[in-house]
Symmetry: C2
Subunit: 448 residues, 2 copies
């Protein structure tokens, strides 16, 4: 444990430099592997998005061509721009991970920088995965030290804290010493940015993209001997003073016998607004019990949800796939019809498919239900009504995915955004990342 008088910037830098696999308990290792896998799925699922096309074209027009590959694509850019595109793509479907204590989506900024750097330099799978894990812990430690004021004020915390994680992760891969790691954090802090005002526009995913690129550059500046503040977290004109509220209150960092923040990382099970998740889970339970339904067998569907969901997501006629991500009616219909609600179930085509059954869904606000609850009742033309309800166990309020669910999500995402990839082979290699002599084999398996 650090002495009270010790600089939190130095404490974090030392921890980032010194942590080894031997310090990581099995639960944290397992959690890191899952976060890694979930991120690769998200990055590949978003790789062919029209907004990614637009971003890559805009960068190329300014001369960003280089030799760093882009996951799931053909173009090659300079290394920082590759990190930027990876992070943008991995966030664009809004399907990533969440560390609920901070509201950070931890993997994006860190993995994007690690993979961009590792695709251009020799790097073992074990080193890449440990750098990823260390970066996520640094990012969450910084986030916790300024929570809840930081996000509440309006800083887009995945960006503003993610830059530290990217800097620490890439700094590790560069084998920076503690002095230079302090500089890397200094360069990261002075680039920390991202406004919540950007949510709802392309600038939201760009915030996270900048965190990845800027963190990578922060490490590179430090490595090149360009100095930065050595007390950037605690300085009176530093990160805590300006972007925290009560300064910078660093908590204990993880160790061999203590919990790691990565264990709290949760994986979004459905590519749509969180308000729809309890409904999708209730309908999924119904399908698991009774099989999928046909539209013309159904007379009426009564959905009961918490008032917030009923207010925000009562959208009987979503105009397109984007709007369907906030339509309870679409969510109910598509899950009952198909038994799944992956990325291909929130497209313009899926909205047509759900039309007939959607029209039979009645959304009822029920203030006895919590925000993580939903109850569905299906009245059939023939036979008894079907019921299902989602009511999470204590401690399980935030939905996530187990290993089987993560594999399904991975396949769904690759089919959507990188259908040219051999998903089974890539999944197998990703699960064995720690055994890889060079992480580039993973990248090569995705190129189109």
């Amino acid at each position: 444990m650090a002495a009270l008088s010790e600089s939190p910037t130095l404490v974090l830098a030392r921890w980032a430099v010194q942590t080894q696999w031997a310090d990581v308990p099995e639960a944290a290792r397992q959690a890191a592997r899952r976060s890694w896998l979930n991120w690769w799925g998200c990055a590949l699922g978003g790789a062919a998005d029209p907004q990614v096309d637009r971003l890559v074209a805009a960068l190329l027009a300014l001369g960003a061509a280089g030799s760093a590959p882009l996951l799931g694509r053909r173009e090659r850019l300079d290394v920082p721009s590759a990190a930027l595109v990876h992070a943008f793509a991995s966030n664009i479907l809004d399907y990533d991970d969440t560390h609920w204590a901070t509201a950070i989506h931890p993997a994006g900024p860190v993995a994007s920088a690690v993979v961009a750097w590792a695709a251009a330099h020799p790097c073992t799978g074990a080193d890449a995965l440990l750098a990823f894990l260390v970066g996520m812990e640094i990012e969450c430690a910084v986030g916790l030290a300024v929570s809840p004021a930081h996000y509440a004020k309006g800083w887009h915390i995945t960006a503003s804290c993610g830059v530290f994680g990217a800097a620490a992760a890439v700094g590790r891969l560069m084998r920076l010493d503690p002095t230079k790691m302090v500089w890397a954090l200094g360069h990261a802090a002075t680039q920390a940015s991202g406004l919540v005002a950007s949510l709802g526009s392309s600038a939201k995913s760009l915030n996270i993209a900048h965190a990845a690129r800027n963190g990578l550059l922060a490490a590179q500046y430090a490595c090149a001997g360009l100095s930065a503040s050595t007390v950037v977290l605690e300085d009176r004109f530093g990160f805590g003073a300006l972007m925290g509220d009560e300064g910078f209150a660093l908590g204990p960092l993880p160790a061999a016998n203590s919990p790691w923040q990565v264990e709290e990382n949760r994986f979004k099970p459905f590519p749509c607004g969180f308000l729809l998740h309890p409904t999708l889970q209730a309908c999924q339970a119904l399908v698991q019990a009774h099989g999928v339904l046909a539209s013309d067998a159904v007379a009426q569907i009564r959905l009961r949800v918490a008032p917030l969901a009923a207010t925000r997501a009562n959208r009987p006629q979503p105009a397109d796939g984007m709007a369907a991500k906030l339509s309870l009616q679409h969510a109910v219909a598509i899950m009952l019809l198909e038994g799944q609600a992956g990325v291909s179930r929130f497209t313009d085509e899926a909205v047509e498919l759900s039309q007939a059954l959607r029209a039979k869904v009645q959304v009822l606000s029920d203030d006895r239900l919590g925000q993580q609850e939903a109850a569905v009742e299906v009245l059939l033309h023939q036979g008894a009504p079907l019921h299902a309800r989602h009511h999470p166990a204590p401690g399980q309020e935030h939905p996530s995915l187990d290993d089987a669910g993560l594999a399904l999500k991975f396949h769904d995402l690759l089919a959507h955004g990188a259908p040219h990839c051999a998903a089974d082979g890539l999944l197998e290699r990703l699960r064995a990342t720690e055994q890889l002599a060079d992480v580039r084999v993973l990248v090569d398996l995705t190129l189109s």
Copy 2:
């Protein structure tokens, strides 16, 4: 005048798009030309600095090679990286311009982005200069709207507001419509960053470098159709709310019959700390009256300065050129010996040169003197003592340079950082920037 209810983001965007040369009064045109000239001198003066070498090497190692030229250098990078290097180089000698009402050094972020973009796209001199002027006005308008709280809290205002100027300037060159200019400002705001904690390290000039690159990219994102917040300055989770104090209070924007902020821009006459400037001016006056002195003719020198200068800059034995920038003793000695105090007078060699005379300088704190005042008395071995005093006229408290002074500074900077340049020819072309069919001829004249 905008209606009170109108969005300040939209007001700024429209102004940036619509302003034409016909709207610019002669005084503002003249001021813009001087700021432009001063910036080119600073950028070339810093071009060969070892820290610039280090930065360029670090970027090249990550694949930043491209076709955009770097002023005064051989390497070519992608366009955003070229903007970054220009801004870094133009700030590295700490010799740039100052808009005292905000403490912004306005030219750096804007000119760096304009020149990088214009070197890669056809662009007339008149368009480049107007974009530069408009960008500086936008940057100062944003700065004024959050002053004094923004800088007082610890935001490095040249960076955090400079990004808006760079975005507006490049957005103009791209001929963005008002809707896309709003996005460009949105992308700029969500990247706004830079901590005062970085001052005293390389991260300080990097802050300004990032503002230039990020502003250029903000315009490019908007141009490519990537959306951003449309109310980023006034949103409750936007720039004013997070980085101002009382929100965002936009003042009136300049017009044909009103003053422009560029007219308030001042040019640093000496490449050293402001605390030394009154002393250098007093000694310069003494030399102008009596000629330069020889060390062995002098018995003693008594310098009287305001208490702050006496506390912070009483440094009889500066270790090197960097330390000499905060040594009153060195400043007195070098000016009396050489009659000049340009960049070559704050080097390690100059510190040796000043040694004998420096030892005879006594620094006295005088609380009757204002911070812009200094008085010097030289006791000679033979003859009457010499006296000089600097006491600025009201309204002239902040030192600056007239056209002749700017030309001398330009030559001094080029001799230091770009001795291969034909300074006279470049100066002549720069003064006629508005007549150039393509601004690239200016860039080409600097390449090594």
